[in-house]
Subunit: 303 residues, 2 copies
């Protein structure tokens, strides 16, 4: 069992969040960096961690526990994926030490709709989500992690038994930045238009024919049936609606009544709109709280 | 009826092809320019047409007929969309004159899966495809135009009665250039891997859950089940397979036995692989031949 204060890091594709923690998970200091794995030159993760992340948190000498894409071939070093089902003990027992006192949480893999599916970072949030309520360590639960690569995760008796990814957030960014549907000007968070979002979600239908339904946005704006300023919200609704319509049959039981959505409030609220419209109960949990609690649990359980 | 030689132009989103034609459609000179509508600054279409396109074809004084995205709000001027069903006579009777002797073919619109669907350029290829065989002026036919925004077009008694768009080519370019599935290095046409393409097409299933199936490519390459060099062909197969599986039920009759695929040989051959595997007959026609023949028919029929 590890003990004492440590540096907890969620190092993802697009950014890095770090917390200096007391052993019990209390946050003493927090920092965020626009230093995602996709911005790292090959081989520089270690140097930038030492020269930028540690000093910003006053954590030069603390042991560190990292999760996320930093454990991939694109990151610091490859922490091999663990095959589902995976428990806390299995994760904590397979940390990869990349430098003295610096360890990385492995990712998960399971059979997906097409070949193996992959996860890095959300497994830690799952463990943190469980920490908030002992009832979550038992029974069956369905979690959704909205984001660049949204994950739908089946939990059974505390284990991650399977999951399905959808590239929803990445498609939104690609289409809004580089395609014929490009947003002009780029939207800000304050521009969210719930009515346009709901129209987009309804336009997703059963989630099929996505490449055709996407082009529908061009027809709606060119014909004046949707104001250009509402296009980002409509596209978000279409993509999230298509994700939920497509993935739900693949991960949910016939009697599934509740989905737990773990992430930022802005995105969780959007998923909740679509789930509620489908008659599914939705419980929202904060993603940052979950990742801190998850790293704390893994830290405490690690050999 | 217009007569005499003219300058025929297919001015699309990414490039411009122009032909100096005899009245009967014989090509006297051809030129191609990387001057798509997306590369035009606002308001400069007329000037660049006069200073670059006309001189390159020795066509300073010829009348001109243009089709494609140049007739959109992003192009020279907006030639309003005609509502389906649309015949040759309706198209030829609604040309937009943007300068003395320079006319643009209007686009088409019809009710789509989501709002109005839109077409600019393919309507001209449809007319040219018909010119190759008088039997095509009668009965029901199904045409597919592969490309950035692929179109599936229903023809009845010579009229375009409806169509469905899929952003297949654009998704391929976006994902291969900017996403986690980015090709490295970029593929050349010679790298086509038919076996990987067929695996991708099979992975499309019923065309649903596209945002999840796409992420499958990452799992296949990370796990070593697909060599990175085969990723572009696999992705092409997945997207074309999903397009055909999704759009076919929306446009084809239960007894549809043949699809006519009109475009470049490289893309038509890929569509033919998927259609043939589905038990659909496939007849391929050259897209450039079709657009020249279509502009010639419209020219001859124009008031």
């Amino acid at each position: 069992m590890s003990s004492g204060p440590f540096l907890a890091v969620d190092w993802g594709t697009t950014n890095l969040r770090a917390w200096r923690l007391e052993e019990a998970g209390t946050v003493l200091q927090r920092a965020e960096f626009p230093l995602g794995v996709s911005q790292l030159a090959p081989g520089e993760a270690a140097a930038r961690f030492e020269s930028e992340v540690r000093p910003a948190l006053g954590a030069q000498d603390l042991p560190a526990l990292l999760c996320g894409m930093i454990g991939s071939t694109l990151g610091w070093a490859n922490a091999p994926y663990l095959e589902c089902p995976v428990s806390l003990a299995k994760l904590a027992g397979n940390l990869l030490e990349v430098a003295p006192g610096v360890r990385i949480v492995p990712g998960l893999t399971c059979a997906g709709l097409v070949g193996p599916d992959l996860m890095r970072g959300e497994e830690t949030q799952v463990l943190g989500w469980q920490a908030a309520d002992p009832a979550r360590l038992h029974g069956r639960h369905l979690l959704c992690h909205p984001g660049t690569h949204a994950k739908w995760v089946r939990i059974e008796e505390g284990h991650v038994t399977r999951f399905v990814t959808a590239m929803t957030g990445e498609l939104y960014d690609l289409l809004g930045s580089h395609s014929v549907l490009k947003f002009n000007p780029p939207p800000s968070d304050e521009d969210f238009d719930p009515e346009a979002f709901d129209r987009g979600a309804a336009a997703a239908g059963d989630g099929g024919a996505l490449a055709s339904r996407l082009f529908g946005l061009r027809g709606l704006t060119v014909s004046g049936q949707l104001p250009p300023a509402a296009a980002p919200s409509w596209l978000s609704g279409l993509l999230i609606g298509a994700e939920i319509a497509s993935v739900w049959p693949a991960v949910a039981s016939a009697d599934e009544k509740v989905a737990h959505v773990v992430g930022t409030a802005r995105l969780c609220d959007r998923y909740a709109r679509v789930l509620t419209a489908r008659g599914v109960g939705c419980e929202i949990a904060d993603g940052e709280t979950a990742v801190i609690a998850g790293l704390t649990r893994i830290w405490a359980a690690a050999p």
